[in-house]
């Protein structure tokens, strides 16, 4: 059980600080909500946020204490580790995937659906070298077109 916590001690330590901060912010915002409403104190919109942000605060503190107990604060992140992480393949892939997703979102509604969807699919498959580029292109266009057709005409859900 303890070993289990040790693995994630460092991130837990940071997360717990984040959670404590977050819960305090929410608590503050909730306390600032109007209290005297039509019915009296007990029906104020802040009652549930106050309860649950307090609970989150409690959980955050427990997590904090637990990570301290396994010396979570002592595990250092070195510069080399950071550099290695940022230059690692998973991080590149993650950024690329996320970048495509964001590009897709930004263009959504501005460019025709089939066009951006096909572009998105193609970019992804091209980046990850899934198959030959012409195969990727065919798959992209056909999929995007098929989805657009079935939603617009069969399900009657207009797409942007």
């Amino acid at each position: 059980m303890k070993e289990n916590h040790k693995e994630t001690a460092k991130p837990d330590f940071l997360t717990s600080i984040f959670l404590i901060g977050l819960s305090l912010v929410i608590l503050g915002l909730s306390l600032a909500m109007p209290k005297y409403v039509e019915w009296g104190m007990y029906a104020t919109p802040s009652i549930a946020p106050i309860i649950f942000s307090s609970l989150l605060l409690m959980c955050g503190i427990i997590l904090f204490i637990r990570s301290i107990a396994v010396r979570g604060y002592a595990i250092r992140i070195t510069r080399e580790q950071t550099v290695r992480f940022i230059t690692s393949k998973p991080f590149y892939n993650f950024s690329a995937t996320l970048g495509f997703v964001l590009l897709y979102y930004v263009l959504m509604g501005r460019v025709h659906f089939v066009l951006i969807s096909a572009l998105y699919l193609f970019l992804n498959m091209f980046y990850f070298h899934s198959t030959a580029w012409w195969k990727s292109l065919i798959i992209s266009v056909v999929t995007a077109g098929l989805i657009w057709y079935s939603f617009n005409y069969l399900f009657l859900i207009p797409l942007p």
């Binding site: 079935s150 069969l154 009657l156």
Partner: protein, 338 residues
């Protein structure tokens, strides 16, 4: 194997396509012919009063306009979010909203859509439904006199569909006209409010006749009066007396449901929609629906509808502002005091 899967998928899609494709019907001679699917945004959940009215009218208008109408439910924030996105779309006649007069008329005073006035919309009303005072049948309230006695002697629990909803406005009007107080219990919609009264959690509910008709028919609720100047007839239920029989001068509290389309769409589109609505709102299907739901089928548009909107804005806007529900002074928006 993959081929099999793909062909299965394609096959089932094709099958549904042919099965569900309604027969193309010939277009009317209207000048404006929609070239793509029309979107109707219902800013409330599926199954509500706006939704049902919208769908039934849309189904009637589809063959006349010769275009498909896709209904999209976009609930949230008392319908303001959906109403706003209908307004934010291009004003080309291809995006409509289905809502109620009182809601659209008060979004601005509630500061929900600060930049959109109720005057920016053309309203097309198909269903009128008045509010009805109903009680749980186990309650000791049986008629008007016992109702008044109950309100005078204790804090009666009155359910509503939420702040600013039909039942709340009705209860507020009732309280101020009759000079009584009550315990307002808001629920997340008309149906839950009615159910709470049927279950006995609350004693009284003043929601729309549309929402209580079936419970009245089944004897799960008892009607005391309709907030209108004429009695209400619902098949299978004794005629519900008008509130003006007991309290003369009581204002009518009722709501018009229908379509809302921005005023500045192209004129030919407006003409075509207007004609299609007139025909669609007078079909038997709409009449049967109104009958079933204890409401009245109407067909109101143009200046008459504008007048109803203005009246709703003035009556409900001021009521909400004075009740502390709305934050914007209606006067600053040029809405007259009723």
């Amino acid at each position: 194997m993959k081929k099999l899967l793909v062909s299965l998928l394609v096959l089932s899609l094709l099958m549904t396509g042919t099965l569900f494709a309604a027969a193309e019907q010939e277009t009317a001679e209207a000048g404006w012919k929609p070239s793509k699917t029309i979107t109707m945004i219902v800013p409330w959940g599926a199954g509500g009063a706006s939704d049902q009215t919208g769908r039934i009218v849309a189904a009637g208008m589809e063959p006349i306009l010769g275009a498909k109408i896709a209904v999209v439910n976009q609930p949230g924030a008392s319908g303001a979010t959906g109403q706003k996105s209908a307004f934010d779309a291009d004003h080309d006649g291809y995006t409509w909203a289905a809502n109620a007069d009182a809601s659209v008329a008060t979004y601005q005073v509630q500061d929900l859509t600060p930049d959109i006035s109720h005057r920016d919309w053309n309203a097309y009303f198909a269903i009128f439904t008045p509010c009805v005072i109903t009680v749980n049948p186990d309650s000791d309230i049986t008629d008007w006199d016992s109702l008044m006695a109950a309100f005078k002697s204790r804090r009666v629990k009155v359910a509503s569909a939420g702040i600013g909803a039909g039942g709340h406005i009705a209860a507020e009007t009732f309280a101020s006209q009759m000079d009584v107080t009550y315990n307002h219990v808001p629920y997340g919609g008309g149906n839950p409010a009615v159910v709470a009264t049927v279950a006995g959690e609350t004693e009284v509910v003043m929601q729309l006749s549309m929402e209580v008709a079936d419970m009245l028919r089944a004897g799960r609720l008892r009607a005391i009066a309709v907030l209108d100047s004429v009695p209400l007839k619902i098949t299978g239920v004794d005629e519900i007396p008008a509130i003006t029989d007991f309290a003369s001068g009581f204002p009518s509290v009722g709501f018009n449901f229908g379509l809302f389309i921005p005023k500045d769409i192209p004129a030919d589109a407006q003409e075509a929609i207007s004609a299609a609505f007139t025909a669609a709102s007078q079909t038997d299907k709409v009449r049967e629906f109104a009958e079933l739901k204890g409401s009245v089928a109407v067909s109101i548009q143009g200046e008459e509808a504008d007048a109803i909107m203005e009246q709703a804005a003035s009556m409900f806007g001021w009521l909400m502002y004075e009740g502390g529900v709305a934050s914007v002074n209606p006067e600053t928006l040029g809405i007259d005091r009723p």
